[in-house]
């Protein structure tokens, strides 16, 4: 909301600097988000008189003037087409500095000396117009500085008005707050009303058919007006807030809106069929062409102001073209009403039409000031446009509409309890009185002990947001200034606070993976159907069970993710495009799955914490010293083994994953010992997915369901004696065909070999000395006795038996 300092000064005397006023507004809860100085900061610009004005001898477009600035007459070259002798103008003397940094100096223009500048509006920051110089009223005293010209210079505040304070959407409301803060009186602007026209009853009739939608309606008639351009003060007032002047009547309704925060509407009375005003719901198939030129289809939900035939106004939102006030209008009907906030809000949304009116009605207007504002507006119209105000009003008031100020009780002790600071009763009364909340003494309505000290306060209509005791306590705190409330600490019994297990697990994973060389990323939790399709998921994959967003920001962000894969792969691609081919990312995020709604307030969405890992390019890129290994399944597997060891997770590996986005062979799934659903899938990215996501370098990925991981069994962490005996090692070179896997060899090792503690793979050899399509697996068999050192003979004997057993497997030969 824009607030003009000049405008505020109509209602309150403000001697403080513009900055102090801004601080006061912010401290009162109207955060000043910006300040615009319109000419107030400029030095050296005064009212000048153009005494002579002639053509420049060398340039057609320039004039040479003689300007008197109150002290002396100087020659000035001016480029404006509208400059003329006799004008009063804004004259920037030599030495003045204009907004934007222009310094006025003595200059020679095409050979003619110039001592100053005659200014246009935009050059002084007074407006946008650069049509020519600003010509002042002839009565302006020559030589006074521009700041002394009434209404010319201004300071504009952009304030943030919270939805509970519709009263501050008008200058009067803001002025009231400042009057309270600076302890100075507020002047109400009510224009004196003279009802010297005919009786309104013979001129117009009112029928409010929908009292729920329109709780209060007041109308007046002004007869015999002359509608034309607005007077300067009105044009200037609206212009300072960026409102265009339309005609004197429309301008006055806008003026009153920005003054009282009360919308109103003016009709051309002679264009109202049957001289009738009917407030009703629209009938189906009725239409209304609103002032923005749009033909709107109405239905039974729309509250309208109709005449005897058809809707003329979409109530509280916007008027229609057909009954609007124009220069031809002679008789005016003005409406000031209270419409139901919800009704206005819903029909404003439905028609996609927000207006200054709807914005205020949605938030609520003063229910007790309707007639007062109507009288004020009618009087202003009569004053500005001539004409006579008809005698009386047409009006309607619903049963539910408040007729007198609300009374709210306040227990002074409760103020102390809630705020932690206890102003006295008289301080409370004084603070609230500043914004016209009057104490009406002790609350005698109830005799209960609780209320024995309660004070009663009458809440003026413009503060309809104040309904409860706590609302008044907030007002007390606000008017005291929040910064005067001391900061203290509450005291509590000691307590031990543990992290929830899920948080602890996620945190441990994040730190482990960082230690293992991966960087954490956080993705937006949105994805697209297309991105999910690119994962070539199997028909029954739960990841297809996504939740779409009804009002997505874009097609890329249309559904909630069921997997982190799209986000991670897209991040890889972005990195690839910025010449970062080697990337190791992980994310602990969330996946969302559609589920059955189990109750009225159930979301129907299952949320699961997930961990995603995506590695691309070379693993050892952090070193300049080769060789550099591309990421592959085994490196990923090793990483996951490291992670799981750190977590002491005891999981079962199954090789080859059914997840569509993984390579069918270079992949694995992890299970808790007894589970059917995998806790994790990992592997080389499927080549098709790689292409779909535009990834050029090798990519391996993994995804974990963290709730399942949390519930999975953990290896116990218990001390094991280690120092007593070193093991005895026997190496074996086992030659197998390519298709025989390490796991097959391990499976061929007999179970329960005496003292055998570990079979460790040292290397895999392919090439010279081996049959084609064969490999040699070099293993160390490590033997250890729990209590003593084994002798060579003992170990040799056991190892021989193992070899014999191994060789029983037809796939295995020993080199």
């Amino acid at each position: 909301m824009q607030i003009s300092l000049n405008w505020l000064k109509r209602y309150v005397d403000l001697k403080e600097t513009p900055q102090n006023i801004a601080s006061a507004l912010t401290a009162l809860g109207f955060e000043v988000e910006g300040m615009t100085f319109r000419g107030t900061e400029i030095q050296g610009v005064v009212v000048g008189e153009v005494r002579e004005c002639g053509k420049h001898p060398e340039a057609d477009r320039l004039s040479v003037c003689r300007v008197f600035d109150g002290n002396e007459e100087v020659p000035v070259v001016c480029g404006a087409p509208n400059v003329a002798a006799g004008q009063k103008v804004l004259f920037a003397r030599v030495g003045a500095e204009l907004p934007g940094g222009l310094k006025i100096k003595k200059a020679k223009l095409r050979g003619v000396e110039s001592f100053g500048m005659i200014c246009a509006e935009d050059e002084l920051g007074l407006g946008e117009s650069h049509d020519g110089i600003l010509v002042l009223d002839p009565s302006a005293p020559v030589g006074i500085s521009m700041q002394d010209i009434p209404g010319l210079c201004d300071v504009l505040y952009e304030i943030n008005v919270t939805p509970n304070r519709p009263d501050a959407l008008g200058h009067l409301g803001v002025a009231r707050e400042l009057a309270a803060r600076f302890e100075t009186p507020l002047r109400y602007p009510d224009e004196a009303l003279r009802e010297d026209g005919s009786d309104i009853q013979g001129l117009v009739s009112l029928a409010v058919e929908d009292e729920q939608g329109c709780t209060r309606y007041v109308g007046r008639v002004v007869e015999g007006v002359t509608v034309g351009p607005s007077p300067d003060w009105l044009v200037q007032s609206l212009k300072s807030l960026g409102k265009k002047s339309i005609n004197s009547v429309v301008d006055l309704t806008n003026f009153v809106l920005l003054e009282w925060s009360q919308p109103s509407h003016a009709f051309d009375l002679d264009l109202l069929a049957g001289k009738k005003i009917v407030v009703r719901r629209a009938r189906s198939a009725e239409t209304l062409k609103t002032l923005d030129g749009v033909e709107r289809k109405l239905d039974e939900r729309d509250l309208v102001i109709a005449d005897g035939e058809k809707p003329q106004v979409l109530a509280g939102v916007m008027g229609g073209e057909s009954s609007g006030v124009s220069e031809k209008t002679k008789n005016i009907f003005v409406e000031v009403a209270c419409f139901d906030p919800r009704t206005v809000r819903t029909q404003s949304r439905r028609h996609g039409l927000q207006s200054d009116s709807s914005y205020r009605f949605e938030r609520g207007v003063d229910p007790l000031a309707t007639a007062r504002v109507c009288d004020h507006l009618a009087a202003l119209i009569a004053k500005v446009c001539g004409g006579k105000v008809a005698e009386g009003r047409v009006e309607s008031i619903s049963k539910a509409h408040p007729k007198k100020p609300r009374v709210v009780s306040l227990r002074p002790a409760r103020v102390g309890k809630l705020l932690g600071v206890s102003p006295s009763t008289s301080e409370i009364e004084k603070l609230l009185a500043g914004i016209e909340i009057k104490s009406s003494g002790k609350d005698a309505s109830t005799g209960s002990a609780r209320d024995v000290d309660a004070l009663r306060f009458e809440i003026p209509g413009f503060r309809n947001d104040l309904e409860r005791e706590v609302d008044l306590i907030e007002e007390v705190a606000r008017l005291m200034d929040y910064n005067k409330i001391p900061a203290t600490l509450p005291s509590f019994p000691l307590t031990a606070v543990a992290l929830p297990p899920g948080e602890k697990l996620a945190s441990k994973i994040r730190h482990s993976l960082c230690d293992l060389g991966l960087s954490e990323t956080i993705s937006l939790r949105f994805t697209s159907r297309k991105a999910l399709e690119k994962l070539i998921l199997a028909e029954n994959d739960a990841r297809k069970n996504f939740v779409p967003i009804q009002n997505p920001l874009s097609e890329e962000w249309e559904v909630l993710p069921t997997t982190l894969m799209p986000a991670l792969l897209q991040a890889l691609e972005r990195n690839q495009n910025t010449q970062e081919p080697n990337v190791r990312l992980f994310e602990t995020g969330r996946a969302f799955f559609r589920s059955e709604r189990s109750g009225e307030r159930d979301s129907g969405v299952r949320e699961e914490p997930v961990l995603g890992i995506a590695l691309m390019g070379e693993w050892t890129d952090c070193s300049w010293d080769g060789p550099h290994h591309p990421v592959d399944f085994l490196r990923l597997k090793g990483l996951i083994e490291n992670l799981l060891d750190g977590l002491r997770a005891d999981l079962r590996w199954e090789y080859g994953s059914k997840a569509g986005f993984l390579h069918p062979v270079e992949s694995a799934e992890l299970y808790a010992m007894d589970s059917k659903e995998p806790i994790a899938v990992l592997g080389t990215l499927h080549p098709k997915v790689q292409v779909e996501y535009g990834l050029k370098n090798p990519v391996v990925v993994a995804e974990f369901h963290l709730d399942a991981l949390l519930k999975s069994p953990k290896k116990p962490l218990l001390f094991e004696a280690y120092e007593s005996h070193t093991g005895t090692v026997r190496d074996v070179n086992i030659v197998v065909a390519e298709k025989v896997r390490h796991a097959d060899v391990l499976a061929a090792v007999p179970k329960e070999v005496l003292h055998l503690r570990e079979v460790r793979l040292n290397s895999v050899y392919r090439g010279k000395g081996l049959p084609e399509n064969h490999k040699a697996l070099h293993y160390s068999f490590i033997y250890r006795h729990a209590e003593r050192t084994l002798t060579d003979d003992e170990v040799n004997a056991i190892q021989e038996k193992v070899k014999v057993e191994l060789l029983k497997n037809p796939n295995i030969s020993i080199k």
Binding site: E31, P163, A487, L518, R584, S623
Partner: protein, 345 residues
């Protein structure tokens, strides 16, 4: 033989040989050969000892002592010379290294914790230290928990402050972590309550300072006799923890339907110290979060007695704190997964 003269002669010769050995001359004897010659089992010093039997018995002790002295001297001299030689050999070897120590270190892979996680963990640790428990609620929730229970009725202008994503009729992506308050107060009826609820929230919004998804932290304290003053004290403690002991704070009135009194907390601009700069839009203040005393209407909705219990709540954006703390100009950096960004933290 075996006279005192022999002994003297041997001593003289030994010392001369040792001098020759360390002189570095080409035909000089090797130290280990000399050692064998003089100190070996068949060496000359032992020879003297063995020959001692030929002496008259009364001369033997004196002579034996002298031979022992000579042996001690020889051993000492050899040990010193050997140590010196060893050191020279090591030094020669060290000097041979051709390694270029100015080459970059060969690093182990290093990962980086996301700045949001760093701020989040720091926040959690700080409030845990004050006895706050971590609470969580779902991100997709029924609007009753996100709005109605927090005193935000349907079709109310205060909903304009929450541009909401819907996934179904009445089902929203939570617009703030405050739904956690509602769930927690419904599930726990034992005061005192001190909870901290970090989490992701969603708004239909996307520009340099707004992301459609961002992280908030919500704190809620409920007990008998919790006041607005306690809110200020707690928040000031936190702000000093995050922004340093010199930071100034101010509270200004605001409006949230679920708190009353409601406030915004500003801190003195950490970039200009309050003098006014581009970041603080010349105001000298930076907004960090909204807060207030729990509105009695919220207590009523969740079945707590608002006469007996009071409380306060506050929430701030983790993204915003991270952006302020690290000077990140655009919120989109946080969710791009760009390694050039991530590895800075």
């Amino acid at each position: 033989m075996n006279s005192a003269n022999d002994l003297e002669e041997l001593k003289t010769r030994l010392l001369a040989d040792l001098n020759l050995a360390v002189s570095g001359a080409s035909e000089s004897p090797r130290l280990e050969d000399l050692k064998t010659k003089y100190l070996g089992k068949k060496g000359e010093i032992y020879g003297l000892m063995r020959g001692m039997g030929a002496l008259p018995a009364d001369q033997r002790p004196a002579f034996g002592q002298k031979v022992n002295e000579l042996r001690d001297l020889a051993e000492e001299r050899f040990a010193a010379l050997e140590a010196k030689a060893e050191e020279q050999a090591i030094n020669a070897k060290l000097a041979q290294s051709t390694l270029d120590p100015t080459l970059p270190g060969i690093r182990a892979p290093m990962g980086h914790l996301h700045p949001l996680s760093q701020v989040r963990e720091d926040t959690i640790n700080f409030f845990r230290g004050l006895g706050f428990e971590l609470a969580e609620a779902q991100e997709v929730d029924h609007e009753w928990y996100n709005f109605e229970a927090l005193n935000i009725p349907p079709d109310h202008p205060s909903r304009d402050m929450h541009d909401t994503f819907y996934v179904d009729e009445g089902i929203v992506l939570r617009t703030h972590t405050s739904n956690t308050q509602v769930h927690y107060l419904l599930d726990h009826k034992e005061p005192p309550i001190r909870i901290l609820a970090p989490g992701f929230v969603y708004r239909v919004d996307n520009d340099a300072t707004h992301s459609p998804m961002f992280q908030q932290v919500e704190c809620l304290v409920v007990d008998e006799n919790i006041s607005f003053s306690h809110l200020k004290g707690t928040l000031f403690l936190w702000a000093k923890h995050v922004f340093g002991p010199d930071v100034n704070m101010r509270f200004r009135p605001s409006y949230f339907p679920f708190t009353e009194p409601s406030a915004e907390m500003d801190i003195s601009c950490i970039f200009c110290g309050g003098k006014g700069c581009r970041v603080c839009k010349q105001s000298g203040w930076i907004e960090v979060g909204g807060c207030g005393s729990v509105d009695p209407a919220v207590f009523e909705k969740v079945g707590w007695d608002p006469e007996r219990y009071t409380g306060f709540a506050f929430g701030f954006g983790i993204d915003r704190i991270a952006m302020l703390k690290y000077g990140i100009p655009n919120i989109a950096h946080l969710t791009r997964g760009d390694t050039r960004f991530l590895r800075q933290f």
